[in-house]
């Protein structure tokens, strides 16, 4: 299952809730303001690293780049472009957006 989060982890609890309710083995894709979650030094860096032990964490790089955060991404985070986004949706049986 693919879980999509689009809110900054410091503004909203969407990421925190998603991580609480994902099954191990799931993929979590961070887009829009949620990409701040995978940048070094963010308050949730430890939480994200913990999630990476059981899940695949991806981030949309056009959104990282737009925010000037492309050089501070946590190691091991998979960066995808829009076509990679489409592949993730196609490869998963279902998708859930954490609005």
């Amino acid at each position: 299952m693919l879980h999509i989060v689009n809110k900054s982890p410091l503004e909203r609890n969407a990421l925190e809730s998603a991580l609480r309710m994902v099954k191990p083995g799931s993929t979590i894709l961070l887009i829009e303001d949620a990409v701040y979650a995978v940048t070094k030094g963010n308050k949730v860096e430890g939480t994200v690293k913990e999630a990476m032990k059981t899940c695949t964490v991806s981030a949309l790089w056009p959104d990282l780049e737009a925010r000037g955060m492309q050089d501070t991404v946590i190691d091991g985070v998979k960066q995808v472009d829009y076509s990679g986004f489409v592949d993730l949706v196609a490869d998963n049986s279902s998708v859930m957006s954490w609005l």
Binding site: V22, S94, M96
Partner: protein, 135 residues
């Protein structure tokens, strides 16, 4: 049922296709339109005889709080509608336990009977759905 079927049988197959739909409610009522819109879509889905589950997590659990009285704010109190869902064969209502706990609520505070799931059970429930709609 692998061989191709005639028109009539085909129609029966089509009408017999039941998918598991989950509606995820994570926002409090009245502050935004999400909760009311979710309820509208849930009622529509009831007309299609699908396997519908409603999930309430985070501030979404406030949608089910007993005693809502909206007269003074001039908005429609839609909370009684949750009690009517049973009449539309929507009987699977799930609430995440930690969301209740964090808000000082228990199942007794809710206007309907719900099944309380821990986070791992909720993850499993979400995973088995064909379609997940978020509000």
């Amino acid at each position: 049922m692998t061989e191709s079927t005639g028109g009539i049988e085909m129609e029966e197959d089509m009408s017999g296709t039941v998918k598991k739909f989950a509606f995820i409610n994570r926002k409090a009522p009245y502050g935004t339109i999400y909760a009311l819109e979710s309820l509208e879509v849930v009622l529509i889905s009831a007309a299609f005889d699908q396997d519908v589950s409603l999930v309430f997590a985070d501030d979404g659990v406030y949608q089910l709080k007993k005693g809502q009285a909206t007269k003074a704010v001039g908005m429609k109190n839609f909370s009684p509608t949750y009690r009517a869902l049973e009449g539309y064969d929507i009987e699977k209502l799930y609430v995440e336990k930690s969301s209740l706990d964090e808000r000082g609520l228990t199942p007794d505070d809710l206007i309907v009977d719900v099944e309380v799931l821990d986070s791992a059970e909720m993850a499993a429930l979400l995973e088995e759905q064909d379609v997940v709609m978020s509000f």
